[in-house]
């Protein structure tokens, strides 16, 4: 009994400082994002105006009672609104590429907790700003905009929680892979980040549900990892997709991308290029 209890107690003791470090990094990142620049509010305003325009677009396209590929107007409005509420989680990305580019990865690697832990804490901290400056205002504005922000039903809400967690895992794994590829192939981080955002904007289905895309593009895109990041959680939330199938595909992509990221990290860690500032 004692021989089993000791390792468990040791793990918990080791977990304590790790959890504290992650918590501190989260706080620092959140405070830095909030205090970094009031001018970041411009981006928040842009996101809010953009969602207002997109909602108006759907209203100009579909009338009440009309549907497009099974999506009614109410569902599309909720889809777009919730897509913006969780925009940062549905396209999760980190500063890992910048850390490599600036050379700060060197300091990060000697910190007394894992790089992955630092990435997660940093990303979660940065979300605080978007949550306060965009998600809450949009949620408050939703009734004025005539949009019901609630999930389709309780089952959709419960399934949405693992779905968005899987979405974040896939997103961060892709981010990690691209950052390592950036270092190995000597690409600029802003180029990779912009390219990723541009591709994801079309392939992830966070703005337009994939099923609605012309030329049958959605039937191909729905199987790509980007759909597991953006489209799957939103389909689950709005009750527009097959929950079990969507979660299964997401789990599959999360496993594949995480394994790929871990493999690339092991292979390139020693050859990692610190580009310098």
């Amino acid at each position: 009994m004692t021989s089993v209890a000791w390792p468990v107690a040791g793990s918990i003791r080791r977990l304590g400082p790790q959890a504290r470090a992650i918590g501190k990094t989260f706080s620092l990142s959140a405070i830095a994002a909030l205090g970094d620049s009031k001018l970041r509010l411009l981006d928040s305003a842009l996101r809010i105006v953009r969602v207002v325009v997109l909602l108006a677009l759907w209203r100009s396209i579909l009338g009440h009672g009309e549907t497009a590929n099974g999506f009614g107007l109410g569902t599309l409005l909720t889809y777009t609104l919730v897509g913006e509420l969780f925009a940062e989680q549905l396209s999760a990305g980190s500063d890992f590429g910048n850390w490599i580019w600036e050379g700060s990865i060197v300091s990060k690697m000697v910190y007394p907790f894992t790089v992955v832990g630092q990435i997660i804490a940093d990303v979660a901290g940065q979300w605080t700003f978007g949550f306060v400056s965009v998600s809450i205002p949009i949620l408050v504005l939703a009734p004025l905009l005539g949009v019901d922000p609630l999930p389709a039903d309780a089952r959709a809400l419960f399934a949405f929680i693992p779905a968005i967690a899987l979405s974040v895992i896939v997103g961060l794994a892709i981010d990690f892979i691209l950052a390592l590829a950036m270092a190995v192939y000597d690409l600029a981080p802003w180029l990779v980040a912009n390219l990723r955002a541009a591709i994801a904007a079309v392939l992830a289905g966070t703005v337009i549900p994939l099923a609605i895309l012309p030329w049958g593009l959605g039937t191909i895109f729905q199987w790509l990892p980007f759909a597991s990041m953006g489209s799957a959680p939103l389909l689950i939330y709005t009750g527009s997709g097959h929950v079990a199938r969507l979660l299964l595909v997401q789990t599959g992509w999360a496993a594949v991308m995480t394994a790929l990221a871990a493999g690339m990290w092991r292979a390139s860690r020693e050859r990692l290029v610190s580009h310098g500032g």
Partner: protein, 280 residues
């Protein structure tokens, strides 16, 4: 006048040469630079493009009118990237990082440096070629048809829209004179506004918001309003003059704001300047 034109041409050809040398240093980097530019610019217009194709138009606009607007927006952005690359379009970076000193040190007027230094005719034209072809293809399918007057109105509006985008960038970017660190990336935010809101058909939004988006934040003048006037069934009317008339107002505002910022800069300089051109 002829001397000034000669000097501008000489500088543009110098910068064109440097741009070519940068581009051909490696086939891989050239392919990446050109390829990513095309992907980014097409992705920017993808929402409106895909919706217009799927629903055969958006609101009262048919799909060719939407395509024309998107081609117009891409043409404006493509042309600006050619003439104002190397962070001239993102002027807050130059100001915030103290790199303005490099421009002020040159033995020529600042305005001449500004309009020549960012010239990138070899790494950026792919977007302009695609945009021009797309705009031409959709223009041929517009109800009013293409006439000589229409072409003149189009060119005038394209130049005016480009001027408004640059004025908007400079007006906001000038904040970096007073807040060099926190406003260093403000031009990226305003550029995102132009790219993301400027490619949406704004006729679907409420009048109040529409008015804001053609005055305070003039993204509506960068594609939507000119396209509405040029792609309408009656051909270009008096409305086609709106953007060319608004452009000088925004440009004057930009010059005044920038001059004020420059006066402030002359007094305090930059604490972020490093001799190798990067920032602290």
């Amino acid at each position: 006048m002829a001397g000034r034109a000669r000097e501008l041409t000489r500088l543009w050809s110098k910068y064109a040469g440097m741009n070519l040398l940068t581009l051909i240093r490696s086939r891989r980097s050239a392919a990446i630079e050109i390829g990513t530019d095309v992907v980014l610019n097409v992705a920017v217009v993808s929402t409106s493009l895909l919706l217009a194709q799927r629903f055969n138009g958006i609101g009262q606009w048919d799909k060719y009118q939407i395509f024309f607007m998107l081609g117009y927006a891409m043409t404006v952005n493509g042309a600006l990237n050619i003439f104002f690359g190397y962070n001239l379009r993102m002027i807050s970076r130059r100001i915030g990082r103290g790199q303005l000193d490099h421009m002020l040190l040159q033995p020529q007027p600042f305005w001449r440096t500004f309009i020549t230094e960012g010239f990138m005719p070899f790494s950026e034209p792919s977007v302009l070629v695609i945009a021009g072809a797309f705009m031409g293809w959709s223009a041929a399918r517009l109800p009013a048809g293409v006439t000589a007057l229409w072409v003149i109105a189009l060119v005038a509006n394209l130049i005016a829209s480009g001027g408004i985008v640059m004025a908007f960038q400079v007006i906001w970017g000038a904040i970096a004179f007073w807040a060099p660190m926190s406003a260093e990336e403000i031009s990226s935010s305003t550029n995102r506004m132009v790219l993301q809101l400027g490619t949406l058909p704004l006729n679907v939004v409420a009048t109040g918001l529409q008015a804001t988006l053609v005055t305070v934040v003039p993204v509506g003048l960068t594609a939507w309003l000119p396209a509405r006037e040029l792609a309408g069934p009656g051909g270009p009317g008096l409305g086609a003059l709106a953007t060319p008339l608004a452009a000088p107002v925004f440009l004057i505002l930009a010059v005044l704001t920038f001059r004020r910022g420059l006066a402030h800069y002359a007094e305090i300089g930059s604490q972020r300047y490093l001799s190798f051109g990067h920032r602290r």
